[in-house]
């Protein structure tokens, strides 16, 4: 007789079950081995959020820096990194004052500016920074072949615009290295805010010999960049990690208290960033409407910050557009409740209701511009709004209102705002709004070609002067996407551009502020703020509206 049991339904299942357990165990072992062997192909990453002994901070970056060539960088992430590894002639200190950088002292006049470079300013290869490095950097940025999007910020320099337009050779630029240590800049016109331009990345120096050896790869990798700021990039794994360490050649190295700033995570997912913060892996995490409640429940201290940007509805002023009619725009202005929009609809701490196109943080003559020249007030007034609307209907010769096309982006907040306004204008004015939701580039394309009646737009400052907002609606400004034209406004812009006298300039800005309100050129929605949580042991992080988003060069770990 055969001793082995014969197969039956019952013992077949039991045997199969046992076999499956064996197979499962074998799979687990196999899977583990596979992971170990694959892990040997990758590199390891960072430790905890703060390490007081090593003086290191670990952070997350929202995206890979697209461009670390300072002559061509345009975005905030690149600016954030460049601001730590580079330094211009001047820089901001922890109190947002402009203080000496590579230049030890300077004189800025109506037609020229002179900068005396310090003796102890070195590149990270140990060589001295000379005036030639600035001449080369500025000529490179203006060279039409470089096609730098921010070349316009150099336009106050003599001949800069003509060079950028290909009418003159780069050698004609009004910048001369009198010797290695003295830089002479001739100006196209008097520029009251020239010092605040000099902290901008496009004005950073570039060493010619190093740049040319890179053959177009300048700034593409950690080793393809020469540094002169408080930090240098030690390691850059694209899409994954960017680690900065203290620069031993930096002239003011004793001021720097952190040894390492490690951007160990690159992700735009705010929830993931907050999870990393909860897990003690990063020291700062931004919040949005999705995870604000979570942070509040944990009773974390929320940090608020005015980002310096202004959100607004831009009207299309091109001929043939209904929105060219002033009374229609005035009607919408009177019907829009920005308080409700900011506090009930967007409902994120940090934002301020839009009152003026000039945000509150801008400096006037002595104190803040908006204190010296308060914005004209708008009270919601539906009766008056309907009156204006009726007038507009008559002027336009309409029997019925056609729907207005409202072009917007595709973010969550944008959707909330546009849908709220759609409902408001329908309820209060009986106006039909058709929302045209587009992704970033498509929205830009439609904005440029004028394919909209209204568009949800935003403007962020490039430098710390009201002119960075004030000239946007000048008839010649290419960013004036609604093509608003008003000779009066143009005139005030020219005065603000060419005068050196603070009272004259600020008065001009107040006139521009008034025109924008009276004509309802645009409707400000809100001044953008941000909310974030920070490990309380990390101190001395400076946030400012202009330039770097967060400045860690004065930061330190306490305890």
């Amino acid at each position: 007789m055969n001793q082995e049991p014969r197969a039956s339904q019952g013992n077949l299942r039991r045997t199969a079950g046992r076999q499956l357990i064996y197979l499962g165990l074998a799979s687990l072992i196999g899977f583990g081995t596979l992971m170990w062997s694959l892990a040997s192909l990758s590199e390891g990453v960072a430790g905890s959020a703060l390490d007081a002994i090593a003086g290191s901070v670990t952070l997350a970056l929202s995206e890979e820096p697209p461009q670390l060539d300072s002559s061509r960088a345009t975005d905030t992430v690149s600016g954030q990194i460049l601001g730590h590894v580079m330094e211009g002639l001047l820089r901001y200190d922890e109190f947002n004052r402009i203080v000496p950088g590579v230049a030890e002292r300077w004189e800025i006049g109506a037609t020229k500016a002179t900068f005396w470079l310090r003796d102890d300013a070195f590149w990270s290869d140990g060589s001295r920074i000379t005036a030639h490095d600035f001449v080369f950097a500025w000529q490179t940025a203006l060279d039409p072949q470089t096609a730098s999007e921010y070349a316009f910020i150099l336009y106050p320099i003599k001949n800069a615009e003509a060079i950028n337009n290909g009418q003159l050779d780069t050698a004609a630029l009004g910048v001369t290295a009198l010797n290695d240590k003295t830089l002479l800049v001739r100006l196209e016109r008097p520029v009251a805010y020239f010092n605040s331009l000099l902290v901008f990345p496009t004005y950073f120096p570039i060493k010619q010999s190093f740049y040319e050896k890179r053959q177009g790869r300048y700034g593409a990798d950690a080793s393809e960049l020469l540094y002169n700021g408080p930090f240098v990039i030690e390691k850059w794994v694209h899409g994954s990690q960017l680690r900065m360490v203290r620069n031993p050649h930096y002239w003011d190295r004793n001021r720097i208290r952190l040894n390492v700033i490690d951007y160990a995570y690159i992700t735009s997912d705010v929830n993931a960033t907050l999870n990393l913060f909860k897990d003690g892996k990063i020291a700062i995490a931004g919040l949005n409407s999705e995870n604000l409640d979570d942070a509040l429940q944990r009773r974390w201290k929320l940090e608020r910050f005015n980002e310096g940007c202004v959100g607004y509805i831009s009207f299309n002023h091109r001929s043939g557009r209904l929105t060219r009619n002033r009374h229609l725009r005035k009607a919408m202005q009177l019907a829009m409740d920005t308080n409700e929009l900011v506090y009930k609809v967007v409902a994120m701490p940090g934002n301020l209701p839009g009152v003026s196109f000039f945000p509150v943080w801008l400096q006037g003559v002595e104190s803040q511009f908006r204190q010296e020249f308060p914005a004209p007030e708008t009270q919601v007034d539906i009766t008056q709004a309907r009156f204006y609307l009726a007038q507009a209907k008559k002027e336009l010769g309409l029997d019925e209102w056609r729907p207005l096309t409202f072009l917007t982006g595709d973010r969550a907040t944008t959707n909330k705002i546009s849908e709220y306004l759609q409902q408001e204008f329908k309820e209060k004015l009986g106006l039909d709004i058709a929302i045209d939701r587009q992704i970033f580039k498509q929205r830009l394309a439609k904005m440029s070609s004028g394919d909209f009646d209204m568009v949800l737009a935003g403007w962020c400052p490039d430098y710390a002067d009201p002119l960075t907002f004030g000239d946007l609606f000048a008839s010649w400004n290419k960013n004036n996407r609604g093509e608003y034209k008003n000779p009066k406004l143009d005139q005030w812009v020219r005065i603000a551009q060419n005068s050196l006298e603070p009272h004259t300039r600020m008065n001009a800005f107040s006139k521009i502020q008034k025109i924008i309100h009276l004509e309802a050129v645009i409707l400000p929605t809100y001044e953008t703020g941000s909310v974030y949580v920070r490990d309380p042991r990390l101190k001395g992080v400076v946030k400012r509206a202009v330039g770097m988003d967060s400045d860690y060069s004065n930061a330190y770990i306490d305890g």
Partner: protein
């Protein structure tokens, strides 16, 4: 003998034919993507700040966007044939080839782990449910399978990450990192989550395939012959039931490797999927083309490999 030689000939001819078909498919993908992309309003040179017409002209010349579309298409194809995908618009200093070379391996590692996890889990759980048909393990697992198939991966990714945060906080030590890439511990959670959907799908496939075999003649013969149960289960049931699972494995590998975008984003993993999606939002023409053609070729290739393997494994499959 003669018969096996003609078979071999037929096999090689079939393989070559499939490769040619594959190449044509990739060319069609490239062409469709190229013209669709250029037809979408907006272009990669457009940015928040408007530039002067002169600078725009220079940028267009630099990227060859000033030429007629058909000429651009011709140049693109000839560059592509030489294996040059051009330079990214959004990251001006990086070539698309570099981007693929640096980031595809990460996606591939993640994809391989997920598919191994999905296949092993799918086969084991599928077999388990089949032998326990309509009993408790079957009901529980099949319920989870329905969840696994219907819940999208971004929900699982967020839930998985949140679980890690809570577990780490509860234990007071970080047993697994919540995000990042580099070590084994970074890989476990993302690969499990990425493989979950496929595992659920494979479980169901394996289960039905096992049940189908239950009534097969050869199984009844084996049982009545009195073969030992271990042998019956391993050699007759499991081995035959796995065949359909292998068939879908190829396309699954490609789907998992290309579909990891959300998981890569949530777990801050430097994979290619992120570039693939971001490129579309930024109208980054060269990266859109590079990643689409690369992924397209990858998918087509995986399908061909599986078909060819199938021909080897199952003698009933006729190649013609």
């Amino acid at each position: 003998m003669a018969n096996s030689r003609t078979n071999k000939h037929a096999y090689v001819r079939y393989a070559v034919l499939r490769l040619i078909q594959g190449a044509i498919t990739v060319w069609l993908i490239a062409t469709a993507t190229f013209f669709a992309m250029h037809n979408v309003p907006g272009d990669p040179l457009m940015d928040e700040k408007a530039v002067s017409p002169e600078i725009r002209k220079n940028l267009q010349a630099k990227y060859g966007l000033d030429r007629p579309l058909l000429e651009q298409y011709g140049i693109y194809l000839s560059n592509m044939l030489r294996g040059d995908f051009g330079i990214s618009y959004a990251q001006e200093n990086r070539s698309v080839n570099d981007i693929i070379r640096e980031h595809f391996p990460v996606s591939a590692i993640l994809g391989v782990l997920s598919i191994v996890f999905a296949a092993l889990g799918g086969i084991l759980f599928g077999a388990l449910t089949a032998i326990n048909r309509n009993r408790l393990p079957d009901i529980v697992i099949m319920f989870l399978v329905i969840m696994g198939i219907s819940v999208p991966s971004f929900v699982f990714a967020a839930l998985g990450q949140m679980t890690l945060v809570n577990v780490n906080a509860f234990l007071g030590v970080s047993i697994l990192p919540v995000a990042g890439w580099g070590s084994v511990s970074h890989m476990i959670m993302p690969s499990l989550i990425l493989g979950l959907g496929t595992m659920a799908f494979l479980t169901r496939l394996m289960r039905s395939s096992m049940l189908e075999i239950d009534n097969a003649d050869y199984l009844r013969t084996a049982i009545s012959k009195g073969l030992p149960p271990t042998r019956i289960f391993l050699r007759h049931q499991l081995r035959n039931a796995i065949l359909p699972v292998i068939t879908v494995l190829g396309p699954s590998i490609a789907a998992i490797t290309t579909g990891g975008f959300v998981v890569e984003l949530v777990f801050a993993i430097p994979g290619l999927g992120r570039y693939f999606v971001q490129a579309v939002q930024q109208s980054d023409y060269t990266v859109i083309m590079g990643t689409t053609v690369f992924y397209g070729a990858f998918l087509v290739f995986m399908v061909i490999v599986v078909d060819l393997l199938y021909g080897l494994v199952d003698p009933r499959v006729r190649l013609d």
